[in-house]
Subunit: 205 residues, 2 copies
Amino acid sequence: MTPSPALPEDLWPDVRPDAARRLMAAAVESFATRGYHATTTRDIATAAGMSPAALYVHFPAKSAVLFAISRSGHERTLAMVEGVVADHEDPVAAMRTLVERFVAWHAKRHVVARVVQHELDALPPADYQVVIDLRRRTEGLVRTVITRGVDAGAFTVPDVRTAARAVLSLGIDVARWYSPTSKPAPAVLGRQYAELVLAMLGHTS
Amino acid sequence: MTPSPALPEDLWPDVRPDAARRLMAAAVESFATRGYHATTTRDIATAAGMSPAALYVHFPAKSAVLFAISRSGHERTLAMVEGVVADHEDPVAAMRTLVERFVAWHAKRHVVARVVQHELDALPPADYQVVIDLRRRTEGLVRTVITRGVDAGAFTVPDVRTAARAVLSLGIDVARWYSPTSKPAPAVLGRQYAELVLAMLGHTS
């Protein structure tokens, strides 16, 4: 198995050296294909065209590769949501942009997103806590946007916490069902979901 | 490992004999804990308090246990949706009941639902096709309810296919994030999600 061309360099632009990024890409493919537990460090190294010893130069254990993948995905999501909230004072515009980007990313990067979302329980406790904290901050920002919308009379929801969870859940689950043959294209799906989410939050356009 | 008390008999009331049901419950726990690929038939048999040979009396292979679990889950969902559609002429009432039951089930039975939803790719092709057909029929019925609502002027959606997918996606993803300590209780979450879905479909109450 060779690293899939579906995992381009732009997934981890900040990861250096290239070998570490190649190992992360190979691990994503292996975890996605046979699950985290059934994948060995040898599988990952081989898929990256490297020796098992070379893997340990970059990652002390299989779980460290999973953590690098998961942390990176969650940090990027948090940074995206922080950027959107900073750029849009209007909660409707903020929510629209947030959902468009979140959904399009989960469609376009569904293989890595699936690993990030579904192998969370395999992380060692300390790593798990880091990821959970990133998720809490992201969910908190989504709640802030909804609350602003409710305060401004733009949104009406039965429960802010459940509504925030539903918004993120819709986007995350795209990674489960989206495939390279799925329609519509990621950007179009993002716009359709943004319409659905604004309606779900009681916004009448 | 013993079969979890979180997997009560009512999960597979139609499966006989008890040994087959016990094996399915043990398999759900094993698949949920370490993934399908890393689980052996010996793991399943041991967790059910049986010998590997005894497993083969009921299931010819590990994949047959996964198929039994997956088919049962999908058949029950389809039967539930068929029942709701038959019982409710009003598309708003049908959608409300459908989401309440679908969401509550995925919260209450999140362990088995996670296996049903996330190990789909591990099924042999013929079994996979059976499950995909059940999913298509379920999704088709959800589209029918939405289309009826649109025709009756009760719903307004940007795209019926995407809206149907979003409705099911919201419910399915509950199994990913719900845990025994999650709030609110499954039935309450079902009612909150029903409100959110009706709003998402453009219904103004």
